[in-house]
Structures are given as structure tokens and as C-alpha cells.
Assembly symmetry: C2
Homo-oligomer: 149 residues x 2
DNA sequence: CCTTGACCTCAACTATGGTTCAGGTTGTAT
DNA sequence: ATACAACCTGAACCATAGTTGAGGTCAAGG
């Protein structure tokens, strides 16, 4: 019954889940998706190496950064099993850093456009950057897309 | 056949979709969700007032800002049908601006932590802010959460 | 030994935000 | 008048990211 902290070797699914702050079902899910990997006891119970703590940690960081699991898996599959070295993690975190940077820039642009619109009575004035330019674009034959990108 | 641009009054579903840069099925979907509203011809075809252009535009802006549709609906329901005034839009865009600001701050923090980790060989060093503090937190009895929040 | 918590599988379900398809109807240009 | 584009409905399906539940097994303390 007692969840003894097993300082030495393998982790049960419950331990891994608790230590990573996720539900057990999430660990099952990640394993089914091939994001993490472990072995089984003779009684078919999951056991994980301690490196899976880091792996789940990385998955969670990536998710916070907005990386979908499939993308995370792609990255993690480059170091198939086990430990990710500092250098490998540096590459990963550089990639995700850059992606985050892009997302931040996009959101910041949008935020600033909203800021402008608060001042301008947006979506009703001719020069509003958020305004769908209605007939203008319609007459240009384009799809009348909202905003620049 | 020809999609004549009807300068004067109502918009067909296809016109609205094209002018907003979304699929027709998306317009159907938004209508079913109660996000937009129109009327029907005697032949049961959808017609929309021009104010729906702005309404769909607002929905798309909100989505880019990460507002779920249910939330958008909540906001839009405050001005039940038709035109949203400049003042009302100002309130809306202020709210979404603030929300965006929060998200930007969160992502920026994460980005900067990733930046630190690129330098520190992250997730393997004791002082890494992204590192799951493993046994430390485990011994504190907490869930060994990743990162501060 | 036996209870009890932790574990197992598989299927179904949740929510979000849509898309696709089948089968049938409308509206308009020629 | 007729063809053909555009429209209609409803159900099924897609992806993402899991959660929940039923029914059964494992393992460790007393």
C-alpha cells in the first residue's frame, strides 16, 4: 500500500505519474503513443527507468511551449531509448526556444493590433489593421482574408 | 453560377465564407453553435446581414488570440443580435488584449527558461530551472511538479 | 492466508473545432 | 426550360489529448 520512494532503481507507473505531476492514464497514453518506454515485471506491471522522469519532464515542457505530442515524438525519436545527453537537450531546447519565439512574436503583433483597435473603435474604421476590408478586398477578388498573414 | 458580389444587402453562406476566408462548413458550424445568426429565404437558404462579416472577423481574431469558441460566444452574447458598437468592441478587445498579454508573459518566461537551459545542459544540472527536481521534491512529499506554476 | 491498494486491458467517452459525404433542393444564367 | 452551381440536412468522421469505467490481476502488510 505505502508508496515507498524507491531511491535506487525502477519506478512504477504510479510513482512516475506522481513525480511528474500527471495522471496514470496519461502515462499509459504516452506509452501507447511511443513517447516513453519501459519494461514489465513478470506480473505484467510497468516499470520505468529514472531517465523517464526527464523524458516526461521534456514532454511537459514541450507541451507548455505548444508543441503537439506528435512533434515531440519526432524529436525524441532521434535518441531512441534512454538518456538524452546535455548536448541533445540543448538542440531540442534551442528548437523549441525558436518556436516559442515565433509564437510570441505573432501573439505580440496581434496584441498590439488589438491595442490599436481599442483606440480606434476597431472593425468599423477604414484604417483599422484588424478590420476585414470588406468590399475593398472583395473587389480585388481575393478571399478577403482577415489580417496580413 | 457566377458569384456576383452583392454590394447592397444580404450575403449567402458562400459569400460570407469566402469574404471571411473560412469554409462554408465552418459558417454552418458557427451558426449551429450560436455564434452567428441570419435568416432564411423562402427556399430555406441562409442569408446574413453585413454585420456578420464583422462578427466572423471578431471570432477569427479571438481564435488567433487563443480564445475558445465557447468563450467568444459568451462575450458576443452580451450584444445579442446585430451590430457591435465601437465601445462594445473596445471592451472586448481590451479583455482579449489582457488575456493575450498574460499568455505572452507565460510563454516568454518559458522561453527564457529554455534559453537558460541551452546554456546549462538542462535537466541534468542541479540548478536548472526547468529540471524536475526529482528526489528533492519527492522527499518533500509534493507531486514533484515541473516548474513553478 | 487474505485483504487491500495498486496495477492490468480494452473500449467507450469527453471536449474542441471542425471536415466530408450522401442524398436531395434551390436559384439563376442562358 | 433546363442545366449546373450553389445550397440544404444529418450523420459520420478526423485529429488532439486525454479520462472514465468495467472487469480482472498483482503484491505486500498484518
Amino acid at each position: 500500500m505505502a508508496v515507498g520512494i524507491n531511491k535506487n532503481k525502477s519506478l512504477t507507473v504510479g510513482e512516475l505519474a506522481q513525480r511528474c505531476g500527471v495522471a496514470i492514464s496519461t502515462i499509459h497514453f504516452y506509452e501507447k503513443k511511443g513517447l516513453i518506454e519501459g519494461w514489465r515485471t513478470t506480473g505484467n506491471q510497468r516499470r520505468y527507468g529514472r531517465q523517464m522522469l526527464r523524458r516526461v519532464a521534456i514532454i511537459r515542457v514541450a507541451q507548455r511551449a505548444g508543441v503537439p505530442l506528435a512533434k515531440v515524438k519526432e524529436h525524441l525519436d532521434r535518441f531512441p531509448r534512454g538518456t538524452i545527453t546535455a548536448k541533445e537537450w540543448a538542440k531540442l531546447s534551442q528548437d523549441w526556444h525558436d518556436m516559442l519565439q515565433d509564437r510570441i512574436v505573432a501573439l505580440t503583433q496581434l496584441r498590439d493590433q488589438l491595442g490599436t483597435c481599442i483606440g480606434c473603435g476597431c472593425l468599423s474604421l477604414e484604417d483599422c489593421p484588424l478590420r476585414n476590408p470588406d468590399d475593398v478586398l472583395a473587389e480585388e477578388g481575393s478571399g478577403a482574408m482577415l489580417l496580413v498573414d
